[in-house]
Symmetry: C2
Subunit: 231 residues, 2 copies
Amino acid sequence: MTVAKPSNWQEIQAEVQRRIYEREWPPGRIIPGEVDLAEEFGVARATVNRALRELAETGLLERRRKAGTRVALHPVSKATLEIPVIRQEIESRGMEYGYRRLSIDKGGHEASAEVPIAGQVLHIRALHIADGAPYVHEERWISLETVPKAAKLGFEEVSANEWLLANAPYTRGDIEITAGASEGHVAEALEAAAGTPLLVIRRVTWDHDAPVTCVRLTYAAGHKLTTQLGG
Amino acid sequence: MTVAKPSNWQEIQAEVQRRIYEREWPPGRIIPGEVDLAEEFGVARATVNRALRELAETGLLERRRKAGTRVALHPVSKATLEIPVIRQEIESRGMEYGYRRLSIDKGGHEASAEVPIAGQVLHIRALHIADGAPYVHEERWISLETVPKAAKLGFEEVSANEWLLANAPYTRGDIEITAGASEGHVAEALEAAAGTPLLVIRRVTWDHDAPVTCVRLTYAAGHKLTTQLGG
DNA sequence: TGGCTCATTATGTCTATACATAATATCATG
DNA sequence: CATGATATTATGTATAGACATAATGAGCCA
């Protein structure tokens, strides 16, 4: 009995992956061209293209016009980090969400490496709570030149995290993940002893060239950021 | 003079993104069907499909058969984290790569939450060095049942990080990012004062259901993990 | 040897058409 | 009114053919 020939792009993708994993096509090897594979599998070239394109996007294959397709020598694995709204992150873990604004002030601001926003800025500190326990401390700067509507708001009930998502679109952003020691206000809010290692995510978003907001999220001790490889 | 009509899938994608950012199509709104958009832009439906599919994959759109395509209410942003081989990570920053194996031992092992590998295991500790300074400490367990070839190796010159990539394929993996305090061996190897907050990445990879390797990478103080949103 | 042009080639994209599939809306029936 | 069969509809996928584009390599010339 013969093995079913792959007939759709998902099966072809799986078969190509298998050949790579099994070392039939070792790293560096140039694999047959789309036309050959299409003929082998008995499908159209576009179908093979669809299968291979995705593998190239995830870094398993390297494709160049004329040169052909080769198995990546160093399959730089790409893991996708999902960055949900904090309320959803908490609720999806089956915990009750709570929010407390700690402080808010408005004023002129000079752009710095840490907070690359110049001009009038709204500065907010807040705490997100899961099942009554501090979950993450949010310190945020919002550019009032890019998001003037934010000036009228107090962010006492709705977090800036949520409001901005629905009201201030961005086109791109930078993310930075580090480990920091808890200190000062943040340590206090998170009820963490000074010096406790905490996971810090800094995010700056832009609407084209205009800075929208810069946020520094400090997670409570022990927080884990998880994701998957492959799939 | 009229604005050039988008004519390829990238331009159509950009135009759709623009309409979403500019709130012409606010969150939750059902956007015109592929056929309508194809007609509007004067392209084939497949081209529109190509443009919209990618936007749905990144979470900006939600598509359902028959129901149509709507702008996501909570655009869960997805950032891709690239996980290169450490040598490449260092060399791509223009620094000189160095490697030192610290210890190696072999023996039976019970599966635990931290190291979910049972049976004969190779346990290696090593240090990756950038321009002479400690860069990241690697503590690794390799399943000798899944990767028997590794048993003969000493990993004195070539890091397990590199060898495994070329010799032990995996089909899936879990990644966990946390902040930890430096201590013991690791603190010493990284030349970090005890208690310094350090970024820790734990990764477990599997070949189907067989565990391949489990690694705990502890980065030197101040290390930043960066990535981008959008594009 | 070095640099230029040009044909070749594999991937990238688009089109028109067709059928598949999932989900909804409609309608007949009890 | 509830329910289940059925028609409808938007997306999902496949196809053959065509042209676009980038990179290579060969051949030519200085």
